[in-house]
Amino acid sequence: MITAEALTKNYGTKRAVDGVTFTVQPGKVTGFLGPNGAGKSTTMRMVVGLDRPSFGNVTVNGRRYAEHAAPLREVGALLEAKSVHKSRSARTHLRALAATHSIPNTRVDEVIELTGLGAVASKKVGGFSLGMGQRLGIAVALLGDPQTLILDEPVNGLDPEGVLWVRNLARHQASQGKTVFISSHLMSEMALTADHLIVIGRGRIIADAPIEQIIGGSNVPTCRVKTDSAEDLMNALAAENVQLTRVDAQTIQVAGLDGRAIATRALDRQILLYELTPVKQSLEEAYMALTQDEVEYHSHLGNELAATSTGKQG
């Protein structure tokens, strides 16, 4: 379990992480989602003590990470691919880290096999592709067979097979009762991997909820209806809590009524419906809705100005 309380990090005058409080529970995969520069990596670096919090604190299983007697057995962390000397082989890198905790070399060979690095383990890391670097980073994280896994963008640079492997690994570790904390800016990946989501933007927590709840969003049922009598239908459905949007001549989007209620009212007025589709918000849309004001780097000048003014208000 990871517990952060009012965790804050300032770099000079810039506040990278702004008083975040959250708990990462064991037995679940917790996704840490946010745009680039939102503070994901900084938060994770503070968990393992590479960065010192400016305010607040963060503990792993009740203690600061550095206070554990065997940190590598407590937390396995992949922070950035290629956190290795380029002239060193993957195996030597792992053995040197294993030596600090008296982890046997058999375990080093085991994680090399587990991550599919067997063929390149004796080669210099400098020649590794991004994907191989990620696998080595994951091998390091697994070395101490830790209770808690922290993976910062683990699928970056991996091929589809590798992505699937990371997903299975995360789910498997969580099913063993371990704490799994994965950051990503890919919402689609998180939708498939995570049970719980913590969404961060501009250093602040925007959402912290089970994944279904975030996809469910506002919990207002929305349906898309097709009919030839669009005007009549809109009159029939109009009510205080119902939002009607005319999509085209035949199509209306109805928010605030479920399919049964729409069909019942249409039947009362003898209006023929030939399509009635519940619209489910995707994680992508939920994420965009959540983070639209929080994105650090917009691609258009107009948005950039908007973001700047938002920033000043905040």
Binding site: R45, V48, G49, L50, D51, R52, Y65, A66, A69, A70, P71, L72, R73, V75, A77, L79, E80, K82, S83, V84, H85, K86, S87, R88, S89, T92, H93, R95, A96, L97, A98, A99, T100, H101, S102, I103, P104, R107, E110, E113, L114, G116, A119, V120, S129, G131, M132, R135, V140, L142, L143, D145, D159, E161, G162, W165, N168, L169, H172, Q176
Partner: protein, 287 residues
Amino acid sequence: MSTATMKRPRSAAPGAAGSGKLSFPGVLRGEFIKFFSLPSTMILILATIVVMVAFAALGAWLIGWSMGMAAESPEMAASMGDMGEATAALPTSGLAFAQLIIGALAVMVMSSEFATGAARSTFVAVPTRQPVFWAKTLMIGIVSAVVATVSILLSFAVAKPIAGAYDLELVFSSEALQRAMWVGVLYVVMVSLIGMALGALLRNSAGGIVVLAALFFVLPLAMGGFSALADWLAKAMRFLPDQAGAALMQLQLAPGGLEQWQNGLVVAAWIVIPLVAAAVVLQRRDI
């Protein structure tokens, strides 16, 4: 690689990762594994030894040659004085250059961690940080002492027969040679530890090596050049690490120099102060 098969994740066999805790001997072992896994380590160690031996051989030949010249002209012989001390210094004559090579190696032991990003792995494994610093200190101390001892002994073995050919006697047990040898080892350890501290403070290989070279080459030269202009410069110069170290290697005190115990203190301060400063900065700064 893209076709390599990743095995299905499985939990490790019970006890596969053992149950060892983070320990200083473990950290030290890890540092030695890292140190000797780099090709540059052996190259720089060999270069140090070669430079030492080459200077000793060249020096022995030069002294012998000038002795031959002196035998022909009495005026020159008078100006040269006693060659005994110069001969005794032969095995350590390459130190001025060798120190920079092994010093650079020591800088990189720390700076390369930061330059390559390996520091992230290192300090996640050892989040208390200090064990890594002191393990590196101990390792650098041991390695530089061993390399200095071996290269001085080899230099002696090579210089002795060359000097002998010119009827110059190089006696291993002589007080001058023994002092030059053991203080020479201490001197190399000092240079290496200053180098490592610079690597930790600057986190940059080139920067650390430049500062180290400035401290041992440029600063003494510059201060020596201007010392005729200002008396305080000559006095301050005695506190430079190479001046104190070189003075400590001599049997006789130079006029106007520090007492030997004072030279010893200066050398000790140059070892302790940079290390403590580096250890404190390493603890406080983000990785």
